[in-house]
């Protein structure tokens, strides 16, 4: 039999349906692949092989009775940001200790309802704050990709670094992830995988550890555009437990995959051509434009003049919301408590020792910009700049159906390479953060390798609620590029 772990989600579901193999068989294959790889890649922070086999067995029984759900028997990885009942969930922060939820997030509950199998919890930047997965309390994740002829360890990106690494190294069929400033799309681009952040409000935030509530959105990382559509179909739902959950019609996104793009108008925003962008990225973008042109798209040059203000606005809004959300970690009701002379001392010691350096830095910024006298100058101003950014998009979307940009300004970089300057690290998200601020859907699709042999991704940004066009254009790019490269399995 072929190696079951190398299959796409779509093919694996077909194989399960045709009873070519059972869920127990494919689950066992993944459990053994994870055992072999995790000490090198550190993608999983919790492995749940017994639970996985139990779920797989139940799935095989359901299928035998003819009651299989959409994802029945498919082994998945879950970002440690999603609360999973009875399975430790810490958002990879020390402050949550051995926190074991007594409830299930809506996104994961949707997956289990359709029969998916959980392999374990995936590593991430602490509270999703990071772009390289180096802020995790459980250590960094390693990218399965290496530069040609080199063996330097590279970052898989962040914050969903564990999700991206696990999917790229065939340690799950697909994974859940979350995106506050680019945390699905940037790691997808760094690992040759597909990742989509849907419109804000499509996926419920219930049971998802909060970072910045007006920006956080769940989505999948998967091996193909079709796989991402299958996952997103199940992950999204209207949910009364999240007051920002949208009650909007949800199309079957798999139907957009393979739909001809002829006649679509694709905008190319000139502000995404930034200084010092590597030539490989320029070339990749032009290649994408040429492919879409050849497929019958009309290419339109557009302008999004407030693009350069997106990252500074983000670094007010996200830390401000984080400082409010993370106030709950006081060591009283859950997590790790440190001793102190009085109550304030207990709080301060608990938070100083429980949070890592990047989280502390952002909480300090957030507290500062929300403190007396600064709210209007910083937070309110940033929220108004957000409106300007959204208006830029609304103006160009009167003319075009979707936008094409590179996902990131570079390929994966080496671990430790961008430690000294927080702003250099923040610049990773320059092309992705705009979609978060405006609440729009964005997908990253791998299309080529750079001259070091590392994958590069293109991003398609769609109108609000128009994930369908994102899938449609991304699928065209996937087909036209014929991208099928995989990292060579050095991790044994």
């Amino acid at each position: 039999m072929t190696d079951l772990t190398k299959m796409t989600l779509s093919d694996a579901l077909d194989g399960l349906e045709a009873k070519t193999f059972s869920s127990v068989e494919i689950t066992e294959a993944f459990i053994s692949a994870i055992e072999g790889a995790n000490s090198s890649l550190n993608a999983y922070v919790v492995q749940t092989p017994e639970k996985a086999l139990e779920m797989a067995k139940a799935s095989d029984e359901r299928r035998a009775r003819g009651e299989a759900g959409i994802l029945d028997g498919a082994p998945l990885g879950i970002k440690d940001l999603f609360c999973t009942e009875g399975v430790r969930t810490t958002a990879c922060s020390h402050i949550l200790g051995e926190f074991t939820p007594t409830y299930e997030s809506t996104v994961t509950a949707n997956l289990w309802r359709e029969g998916a199998v959980m392999l374990g919890k995936l590593n991430m930047d602490e509270f999703a704050m990071g772009s390289s997965n180096e802020t995790s309390y459980y250590g960094n994740v390693v990218n399965p990709w290496r530069r040609n002829g080199g063996n330097a360890e590279l970052t898989p990106g962040g914050s969903s670094g564990g999700s991206a690494s696990a999917v790229a190294a065939d340690l799950c069929l697909a994974a859940t992830a979350s995106d506050t400033g680019g945390s699905i799309r940037q790691p997808a681009a760094f690992t040759g995988t597909v990742g989509i952040k849907p419109t804000y409000g499509r996926a419920s935030r219930y049971g998802m550890v909060a970072f910045a509530s007006s920006l956080d959105q769940a989505g999948p990382i998967a091996k193909s555009v079709k796989d991402a559509a299958i996952m997103l179909n199940v992950m999204c739902s209207h949910d009364n437990k999240d007051s920002t959950s949208l009650n909007a019609e949800q199309p079957d996104w798999t139907k957009s995959v393979g739909k001809p793009v002829k006649g679509m108008k694709i905008g190319i925003p000139k502000e995404y051509r930034v200084d010092g962008m590597p030539e490989d990225i320029e070339k990749l973008w032009q290649q994408g434009i040429d492919w879409l042109k050849a497929a019958g798209c009309e290419i339109v040059d557009v302008s999004l003049p407030h693009t350069k203000y997106a990252l500074p606005a983000y670094y007010i809004v996200a830390p401000a919301e984080a400082s409010s959300n993370l106030a709950r970690y006081d060591g009283m009701r859950y997590g790790v408590r440190q001793d102190g002379q009085d109550l304030n001392d207990v709080y301060s010691n608990t938070r100083a020792q429980g949070f890592g350096a990047e989280v502390r830095r952002r909480l300090m910024i957030g507290t500062y910009v929300l403190s007396a006298g600064y709210y209007d100058a910083y937070y309110l101003k940033a929220q108004k700049v957000r409106t300007k950014i959204l208006q830029d998009f609304q103006t160009v979307f009167e003319e075009v159906d979707a936008l094409l940009t590179p996902t990131c300004p570079s390929a994966a970089f080496a671990l430790g390479e961008r430690h000294d300057d927080p702003i250099a690290m923040y610049l990773n998200d320059v092309f992705t953060v705009t979609a978060n601020l405006a609440g729009l859907p964005g997908i990253s699709v791998p299309v080529s390798l750079d001259n070091n042999g590392l994958p590069l991704g293109l991003q398609v940004i769609g109108k609000a609620l128009d994930e369908a066009s994102c899938f449609q254009v991304a699928a065209e790019l996937e087909t036209a590029s014929g991208f099928s490269s995989k990292p060579s399995a050095w991790w044994g």
Binding site: V346, R351, I365
Partner: protein, 95 residues
């Protein structure tokens, strides 16, 4: 506008994050670096612009004001660092 060591100590107190004396200066420098970079938002004219609320027009949902959940004492306490007789045990806060 730049922050001073005193500002940083005050913010650390507000954020309830203990900041040892030797970490104050480095934190001040880091925050100033980031805040200076953020200052460029000053260039944007936002006169008459409303603050962003949501991309898709939506109003907050309403529901009947009735009890729909509860009676989960064991679950609520399950992850507490210290409990006793069904209560959270916390440091003394009032003399």
């Amino acid at each position: 506008m730049s922050v001073t060591n005193e500002d940083v100590k005050k913010v650390a107190r507000l954020a309830r994050i203990a900041l040892p004396e030797d970490q104050v200066e480095p934190m001040t420098n880091e925050l100033n670096g980031i805040l200076n970079w953020i200052e460029q938002l000053g260039e944007v004219n936002v006169d008459g612009v409303e603050a962003m609320t949501s991309v898709v027009e939506a109003s907050l949902p309403m529901r009947e004001d009735v009890i729909t959940d509860g009676n989960r004492q064991d679950e609520v306490l399950a992850n507490a660092p210290r409990t006793e007789d069904g209560f959270f045990v916390v440091p003394k806060a009032v003399e």
